[in-house]
């Protein structure tokens, strides 16, 4: 059975197609679902009933939901809370995995599903403007500080991925940051070429505190990250692929897919 993945889309979502592709490449059965279809329980284009219950995985892809005009992900969060709070709670209570990428990460953080250290669903951290004051699109190196509890990143101690965002600086009070490390909720940190976590630009593209690029909730099922694993879906996507090819280090698949594979494999048990 292929786990069914809901790639949730609303006005301004734009990484939905490649996210769907990534899940499907690793054995998922992903479909792009408009927020209104879940709210109304019906998709007129497909002429059928839709419910979040039908899905095993929820993915909130990147983009600029509603233009991010009053803060990234903010209006999307209002929509989700207002229309779907019960359904989302139910989805999480059933221990189904959730991934939020870039704008999706911003949504999960502002909803309060991440990092959720005290169990309460409430926003405790944020993602704000990059230190550079600009949108930054570049490849970064990520490392896992310790094997985190995140089910999405098993076996991935380090990975190169592209970032593309204007608001990706992870900010939280020092004690909360410490707690995230203690509880193994820090999944990825930006690192320099030697694999050491760094706050130096541009290896750390946004100035995130403690170089935090991705975190998970205490269950390890809900994962959010700023970099885009779906954009490393074939070997030649890597920015140094032509060099890797010559050196014989070109992998046989796009390594970003490993993250999606972990999610799909988890559902298969």
């Amino acid at each position: 059975m292929k786990p069914k993945v809901c790639v949730l889309r609303t006005d301004g979502t734009n990484c939905d197609r490649e996210t769907k592709y990534a899940f499907n490449e690793v054995g998922g059965d992903a479909e792009i679902v408009h927020l209104n279809s879940i709210i109304k329980g019906y998709d007129p284009a497909e002429n059928r009933q839709v419910s979040l219950d039908q899905f095993d995985i929820l993915a909130i892809p990147g983009g600029f939901s509603y233009g991010d005009y009053i803060g990234s992900g903010k209006i999307f969060v209002v929509d989700l809370k207002h229309f779907l709070e019960d359904k989302i709670n139910d989805f999480i209570d059933k221990r189904k995995p959730v991934i939020g990428i870039c704008n999706g990460f911003q949504v999960l953080v502002k909803y309060g599903l991440l990092p959720r250290v005290n169990g309460e669903i409430k926003q405790t951290t944020t993602l704000t403007y990059n230190d550079s004051g600009r949108f930054e699109c570049r490849w970064v190196k990520l490392v896992q500080p310790r094997e985190s509890k995140c089910i999405w990143t098993k076996g991935i101690s380090s990975i190169d991925l592209p970032v593309a965002h204007g608001e990706g600086k992870f900010v939280a009070p020092p004690d909360l940051i410490q707690r995230l490390f203690d509880e193994d909720q820090v999944v990825f940190q930006y690192a320099n070429s030697s694999g050491i976590a760094t706050t130096n630009y541009p290896d750390n593209p946004n100035g995130s505190i403690q170089a935090i690029a991705g975190i998970c909730d205490p269950t390890g099922l809900i994962f959010g990250l700023m970099p885009h694993p779906e954009r490393y879906n074939r070997p030649m996507n890597h920015r140094l692929a032509t060099l890797q090819k010559i050196k014989g280090t070109l992998p046989d698949h796009g390594l970003g897919l490993d993250i999606f594979r972990n999610g799909v494999d988890y559902c298969r048990g």
Binding site: H34, P162, T242
Partner: protein, 938 residues
Amino acid sequence: MDRRLDSQEYFSLIRRLGNPLINQFTRVDSQEWDSQIGIGFHYPDVNLPKPPAFQYIDVNLDDEGLIRLSGERYLALNLAEMRTIKDLTKDPIFIQQRIEAGLEERLTDLELEVLAQTWSEHCVHKKFNGKWIYVSDDTDDESGLPNVTDSVFKSIIKPATYAIIADRNIDWLISVFEDNSGVFKINERINGSHKVETHNHPSSLDGFGGANTGVGGVIRDNDSTGIFMDIVSSQWWSIFVNPTSYRDLSLDIQSPLRTLETVVGGVEDYGNKMGIPTMSVNVMFDDSYLKCAVGVGAVAVAPAEINGRKTHLKDIKPGYVAYTLGGKVGKDGIHGATGSSMDLSSDAETSSQVNQSVQIGNPIIEKNVFETQRILAYKGIIAASQDCGAGGWSSALGELAKLLDDFESKRYGIQQRYKYCGIDEQSLVEDRLAGLEGVLELNSVGSPFVEQLKYEIASGEIFNLETNGRGGAEVDLTYVIEKYLGLTSWEKIVSEAQEREVVVVKKERSAELEEICKHNNVEAVKIAEFNNSGMLKVIDQNMTVGLLPVQFLHRGLPQMIIYAHHRPCNYREPEITEKLDLTNTFLELIGRANTQLFDWILTRFDHEVQGGSVVKPLVGKGMGKSDAISYHPVLTEKEVLIESLGNNLLQGDIDAYHMGRNNVVDSIGRIISAGGNLEKICFNGNTLCPKPETDPSVAAKVIRMLKGSADAEIYFGTPRISGKDSTSMERSYISTETSREVRVKARPAIVMSGLGVVEDDSTATTADFKIPGDAVYVIGETRDELGASEFYQMKGFIGRNVPKSDFDEINPRYNKLPNAIKSGLVHSCQYVGRAGLALALANCSIAGDMGLDVNLDNIDNNLGRADKILFSETTGRFVVSVLQSRTREFEEKMQGIYCRQIGHVSSEHGFNVNYQGREVVRTTVPELRAKNKGEIRL
């Protein structure tokens, strides 16, 4: 500051903070400043007086009056055109039709505006379709141009493409010069389209708004090709004046630095928010571009067929209805189409009419429209689509009515022929087609129009259609959604308010369309119904406000005559003292505005979204510039697209014909350097020039560069599929130093955007040096061709020896190098362009973060001077690196090609160039990188 700002200070301050044209500024005395209130809350309230729905305008005027009317209403119509309109109002049949519709004999303001939009230079290309008279003082004129060219478009550009299609038996071009963008086959399942537009006029007034809506517009062009397409790439190039030039601009216009900065912001905003990768980026500088050039392009894909229906065809029949999807209509962008061909005069900035020609973009709405249109297309609901660009609904619906009229006229002709020949539904398809000689051009290649009719013939649909040979439309503006009240009918119909798509559907599918649009948060309003009246009728609030014959609207206009006079230039080669140590010259050369890296711009564009990117704008560990980029347009397919550009603006000062040739040669060379080949390359051509009709020397350059580019396309078999001309590239300003008006006319340019289709990503190649010890080769002979080079320009000269591409020499290189790359022998490949070998070698080192040791003796070719070898801009050359142990194999592959080893990639950062036993350049990679960051930064 404890004194009042004087007005000079105030103006320079607000100009740094924003654009006085579009931003509002309030001046508050520090004594009165309340930090609690700040500047207060300014709600952008639009309070318009309630206007009459329409007015009658008298065109029964003498010539002077007609010209005055054209000027007063910003119609941009000339006397002959105004007279043609005047004549229409005297046509008794037309008068009768008007009376029946309840209109007076006089034209309404709406009708006049619709005619002006439809006949604008922007929409009908009067200049390119004019008659060009060419006189040459050159006894040995290489261009081969005849004395009279009846339409440069129909006699130079189009025939080149059709000649290539015929000569090379090309079967992968399915739509050229007909639809909103050219369409080619990526493979049997997937079509691709490509179109590059310019948005110079609005960007010169407001960089952000102009560039932003330029991107929005060109992607709509691609989206509304056939029934829909998915946009997979956004491209941008610009030509600006150097921000350090023009110290005497008046304070109330956008400063050149701000133009650059805001254009970048506009491109970034639209592409990033739409989720379209912006990879191909070229920023160029020339001080004749005070009216800046902003080129925006897009590449799109669609499945070749959906449920057996070809997606690149538009179908439209009487009874079909048109819906407008997306944005609301407002006062922004009124007169954009006509305004773009009017002078950007020194007082343009104060003219409120022209201010309106800048539109306001909202990418999120456009994204919603595209997603929804896609769903509708997959459900087979859409029969045709058309974007609202220049001229708004006036153009979109006018063009659809014209398309219907053309279809109906052919359908009628076919039916008549069939009656005459006795062909009916029982006849074989071959017989049905065979009988159509003289009625339908059955052998047309790349014509979706003919293909649609053939489909109707083959399916038998043609036998069941009722047609009187005419097409028309009834447009109803009553229910369109307005941004605010107070718009007149004519403003609504010509407004270029953004993010609107018109889709044509069968009436019975209206309800489905409406439901799907609503579900996807897209506003959809039925705006027109097609019929066979032959008229374009416009209704607003139950009143007829316009009635025009479709054929008159699109009739042939009096042909413009353009005189071109070519005088060979009289520049000479400069005498520059040869320096023994060229290190400083070298470093200065690679940090100039036209050679610098602009990584700070490239990283602001999301070039990774959609997950298909392969060769990025910045390549290698050291992040050097890539002259070509590549990507998978469809993730589930193997094919890769490569994009590149060719533009050697300054060469036109010496010889525009060769500039045209070189631009094509450069663009192809760059595609090859990224792993492409000559198999499947097509072009978009963008012409930029001051008004050719007023200056025969400009006209000569234009026709010569067009001929040059067409000659090169024919030689290499790389057809042009679309293009755009901007023929009013001039701007005036009042100098603050002399108080005189200064007119700045842009150098004519033909920007060639190449697009290559490659079967997979296995040949992808980048410029960065990869392995220390690799052999460095130069492919292609270096000649004494420094005319218009970056080096001469830096030294204050133009020179005479412009590069002249030798096709017969270059062609074998373009054929063999891809094979060497395919065999995996080439570790890095860099095309040699601007600033010659100097920038090429420097970029390979910067990108690879590895130095080099090279000796120029091997490629001297009797040039005898290191500066000439390093800075020559001879076309068709490459720098490649090859594993030292495989050099023999490489040379065998390149047999018969000029291919010389000049040294090695170094394991250190030292960058050393030797010539005749001495060091001519000695520097390091970090130094190169620092200099290459350039002089223009923000």
